[in-house]
C-alpha cells in the first residue's frame, strides 16, 4: 500500500501541498485530476524524492515504511517508479547502457543477482516490442533527439523493465497523438497486476478512456478535495474544475 498522510510541501517558502491524504492499494489504478498549479507534479516529484522540495510535515509510507528519509535511488529500489512528464535528455549515455545500469543497480540494492546479458537483452526486447520501440533507438543517447511520443514510450519501457511496486505517471498523455496514446496506454495496461498500483496524473479524461481507473481523485490547492469512481472523470470533463477551485476559494 502507498499511503500519503497529511503531506505538507513547500518550495522556496511557497506552500504547494497542504495536508494531502491519499492511498493507493496494490492492484489499484488511482487517477489524480486537477487544474494547473494544484500541485500534481509536485506530488509526483516528492514521492520520487526530488530534493528541491521541503517536506514540512506528513509521511509517505510504502508498505508501512516512511520513504521520505530515503534517497531517490533507494525509493526506486523499494519499488517507486516515476514516469516523467518531461523525460530528461542525457547526451553521451546510450539508452541501453542506462537501462542496464538502472536495472542492475536496483537488483544489487535488493540483494539480487545481476541479470546476465542474454536475459537482460531478452527483457529489453520484449518491452520494446510491446511499446513499438525501434531497437535502433536503444543505441542512441537516452532521450536525445527522441520525439515526444518516443520519450513517453521509453518511460513506459523503463517501467516494464524495472517492474516497480507503484508506477506514478505524471501527465504521460501530454504531447502524445492518438496512436502514441494508445500504444503507451496498452503498455501500462499490460503492467497492471494484483501487486502493483498506479497513480495516474492527468489533466484530461481522455487518457482514462484507455487506462481505466479504479478511483479518481480531484486535487486542488495541494489537497485531495474529492474522490470517486471513474464516472467522476467524465463529470469533470463536462463541468471543468471551476466548482472545486471556487469551493476552495470560498
Amino acid at each position: 500500500m502507498l499511503e500519503i498522510k497529511n503531506l505538507h510541501v513547500e518550495i522556496d517558502g511557497k506552500k504547494i501541498l497542504n495536508g494531502l491524504n491519499l492511498q493507493v492499494k496494490p492492484g489499484e489504478v488511482a487517477a489524480i485530476m486537477g487544474p494547473n498549479g494544484s500541485g500534481k507534479s509536485t506530488l509526483s516529484y516528492v514521492i520520487a524524492g526530488k530534493d528541491e522540495y521541503d517536506v514540512t510535515d506528513g509521511e509517505i509510507l510504502l508498505d508501512g515504511q516512511n520513504i521520505l528519509e530515503m534517497d531517490p535511488e533507494e525509493r526506486a529500489a523499494a519499488g517507486v517508479f516515476l514516469a516523467f512528464q518531461y523525460p530528461v535528455e542525457i547526451p553521451g549515455v546510450a539508452t541501453m547502457t542506462f537501462l542496464k545500469a538502472s536495472l542492475n543497480a536496483q537488483r544489487k540494492s535488493r540483494g539480487e543477482a545481476v541479470l546476465s546479458t542474454p536475459d537482460f537483452m531478452r527483457a529489453v526486447r520484449e518491452a520494446a516490442d510491446t511499446l513499438q520501440v525501434n531497437p535502433d533507438m536503444l543505441k542512441r543517447p537516452l532521450n536525445v533527439g527522441f520525439s515526444g511520443g518516443e520519450k513517453k514510450r521509453m518511460e513506459i519501457l523503463q517501467m516494464a523493465l524495472l517492474a516497480p511496486r507503484y508506477g506514478i505517471l505524471d501527465e504521460t498523455d501530454s504531447g502524445l497523438d492518438i496512436d502514441a496514446l494508445r500504444i503507451v496506454s496498452e503498455g501500462v495496461n499490460k503492467l497492471r497486476a494484483a501487486n502493483r498500483g498506479f497513480l495516474v496524473i492527468t489533466h484530461y479524461q481522455r487518457l482514462l478512456d484507455y487506462i481505466k481507473p479504479d478511483v479518481v481523485h480531484v486535487m486542488s490547492k495541494g489537497q485531495i478535495v474529492k474522490s470517486g469512481s471513474a464516472d467522476l472523470a467524465l463529470e469533470l470533463e463536462k463541468s471543468g474544475y471551476r466548482d472545486y477551485v471556487a469551493a476552495e476559494a470560498a
Binding site: 534517497d71 535511488e73 542525457i90 524495472l162
Partner: protein, 444 residues
C-alpha cells in the same frame, strides 16, 4: 643616454643560469638554432614568462617556479631495470616503441624503430648526424607567446624522439613514445621531439608521460608536428596521474600541409601544474586540423591549455574541443586564439571549451579569441562552465542509480565527446579506461 631596465632574476632564474653555465653541453654548430648559448641568451632577455605577458596572464610561470631543479642525468642500470618493470605492467602492444628515461633515449627498452616507411631515432643522434630535413624542422621557431620557453628548451634539451614517416607510407600500428621520469629526487627534464609525416603518409603516435617516483619533477617538452601534403597524423598524449610536485610545460608546434589531416589530443589527469601550448598553422589549402583535450583535475591542480590556430591557406577547417572536470581547489585555463590571415578565405573554424565543477572551490578561466582578417569565413567559439545538471542526476537516481554512479555516468559521457574518433579503438579504450579510473578514484 638610454635607460636600461634591469630585470631582477628570481631564485629559479638565477639557478637556471648557473646550471646552464656549469653544464657541458654538446654543440651542434651546423645550425644556429641549436647554438645553446644563443638560445640561452634569447631566453635570458625575457626571463621566465609572467602574468604581465597576456598569454601567461593566468599562469605566472615566474611566480610558480620557485626553484629550478637540477637537470636529470643519464639513467643508471638500476633505473633502466625499474623502467623495464614499469613498462611490463602495461599490456604488450605491437608497433614501434621509443623510450626516454629522464629525457634520455634508452635503446634497450625501445624497439622496432626502423620499419618500412618508418624511422624513429634519438634527437641527439639526429643532431649529431648534421644538417638534414629533420634538423630543419627541429629548428622551427616559436611563436612569440612561446619564445622564452622554447628558447630555454633549445638551450637545455637533453634528448627526444624523432619520428619520420616517408611519403606514401601507412604505418599500421601506433608508434609509442614513452617519456618516463624517475621521480627519485627533484629534477628537471627538457626534451625536443619531432613527428614528420611525409606526403600522403599516415601514422598514429601515442605519447605516454609517466613517472616512476613521487619527487617533484619539472619538464619543458617541445614537440614539432609536421604533416605533409595529403598526410594524416593522429597524435595522442596521455599525461596521466600528475603529482602535486609536477611542473610541466609542453609546447606543440604543428604545421599542416595541403589536404592534410591532424588530430592532436591530450588527456591530463591529477593534481600537478601543467601548461600545454599548442600552435597549429594551416600552411596548405583544404587541410583539416583538430585539437582536443580532456583535463581531470584534483587537489590544487593547475592546468592551462593555450592554443594559437593560424589559418594561412584557403578552405581549411579547424576544430578545437576541450573538456575540463574540476574537483577540489583546482584551476583550469583555456585560452584559444584563432587567427585567420588575410586571404585565408573559406576558413571554417569552431572552438569549444566546456567545464564541469565538482566542487565550489574550483575555478575555470575561458578566453576564446578570434582575429579574422579575411571576409569569407565561418568562425565560431563557445565556452561553458557549470555544475552537473541536477535534473539529469535526479532522473538517473529516480531509476535506481546511486548518486555517485550517476555522476560518473554523466561525467564519462561529458568527457567522451572529446575522445570520439581519436587515434585507434585500442587507444580510445585506453583513454576511456583512464578517465573511468580517475572518476572511480574520486569516490574512494
Amino acid at each position: 643616454m638610454t635607460a636600461e631596465i634591469t630585470r631582477i632574476n628570481t631564485a629559479a632564474e638565477t639557478k637556471l643560469t648557473e646550471q646552464f653555465r656549469s653544464a657541458n653541453y654538446s654543440a651542434h654548430a651546423f645550425d644556429p638554432a641549436f647554438d645553446r648559448s644563443r638560445a640561452f641568451e634569447r631566453y635570458s632577455k625575457a626571463g621566465l614568462p609572467h602574468r604581465r605577458i597576456e598569454a601567461w596572464h593566468y599562469t605566472d610561470l615566474r611566480a610558480i617556479l620557485r626553484d629550478a631543479h637540477a637537470p636529470t642525468v643519464a639513467p643508471s642500470a638500476d633505473l633502466v631495470a625499474q623502467a623495464k618493470a614499469h613498462l611490463a605492467k602495461t599490456a604488450e602492444v605491437a608497433g614501434a616503441r621509443v623510450v626516454l628515461i629522464d629525457g634520455h633515449f634508452e635503446p634497450s627498452l625501445s624497439r622496432d624503430l626502423e620499419q618500412p616507411g618508418l624511422s624513429v631515432r634519438s634527437l641527439l643522434d639526429v643532431l649529431g648526424a648534421g644538417a638534414s630535413d629533420a634538423t630543419a624542422l627541429l629548428a622551427t621557431h616559436a611563436e612569440e607567446e612561446a619564445e622564452a620557453v622554447l628558447a630555454l628548451n633549445a638551450a637545455l634539451m637533453q634528448g627526444g624522439a624523432v619520428v619520420t614517416v616517408t611519403a606514401g607510407a601507412t604505418i599500421a600500428e601506433p608508434v609509442e613514445v614513452v617519456m618516463l621520469t624517475s621521480g627519485a629526487q627533484p629534477s628537471a627534464v627538457t626534451t625536443r621531439s619531432l613527428v614528420a609525416v611525409g606526403a600522403k603518409a599516415s601514422v598514429v603516435v601515442l605519447e605516454r608521460q609517466e613517472s616512476l617516483g613521487q619527487a617533484p619533477q619539472q619538464s619543458n617538452h617541445a614537440l614539432i608536428l609536421s604533416v605533409g601534403d595529403g598526410a594524416t597524423l593522429h597524435h595522442v598524449v596521455l599525461q596521466d596521474g600528475t603529482d602535486t610536485g609536477t611542473q610541466a610545460v609542453t609546447t606543440v608546434l604543428a604545421r599542416l600541409g595541403a589536404e592534410s589531416n591532424l588530430m592532436s589530443f591530450a588527456l591530463v589527469t591529477g593534481s600537478g601544474f601543467v601548461r600545454r601550448q599548442n600552435f597549429m598553422e594551416f600552411a596548405g589549402d583544404t587541410a583539416k586540423g583538430a585539437l582536443r583535450g580532456v583535463a581531470l583535475l584534483d587537489g590544487k591542480a593547475h592546468a592551462d591549455t593555450t592554443l594559437v590556430v593560424t589559418h594561412k591557406a584557403l578552405h581549411c577547417e579547424s576544430r578545437e574541443l576541450y573538456k575540463h572536470i574540476l574537483d577540489d581547489e583546482t584551476t583550469g585555463i583555456f585560452q584559444g586564439k584563432v587567427i585567420v590571415a588575410p586571404g585565408a578565405q573559406k576558413t571554417d573554424g569552431k572552438m569549444m571549451s566546456r567545464a564541469i565543477f565538482l566542487n565550489d572551490g574550483a575555478t575555470m578561466y575561458n578566453k576564446p579569441e578570434l582575429e579574422i582578417f579575411a571576409d569569407d569565413v565561418v568562425c565560431g567559439h563557445g565556452a561553458t562552465a557549470g555544475f552537473l545538471n541536477e535534473d539529469q542526476l535526479f532522473y538517473l537516481q529516480a531509476r535506481g542509480i546511486p548518486k555517485a554512479v550517476a555522476e560518473g555516468l554523466l561525467l564519462e559521457a561529458f568527457a567522451a565527446e572529446a575522445v570520439e574518433d581519436v587515434g585507434t579503438e585500442a587507444i580510445r579504450d585506453q583513454l576511456t579506461e583512464s578517465i573511468g579510473l580517475w572518476l572511480h578514484q574520486r569516490h574512494q
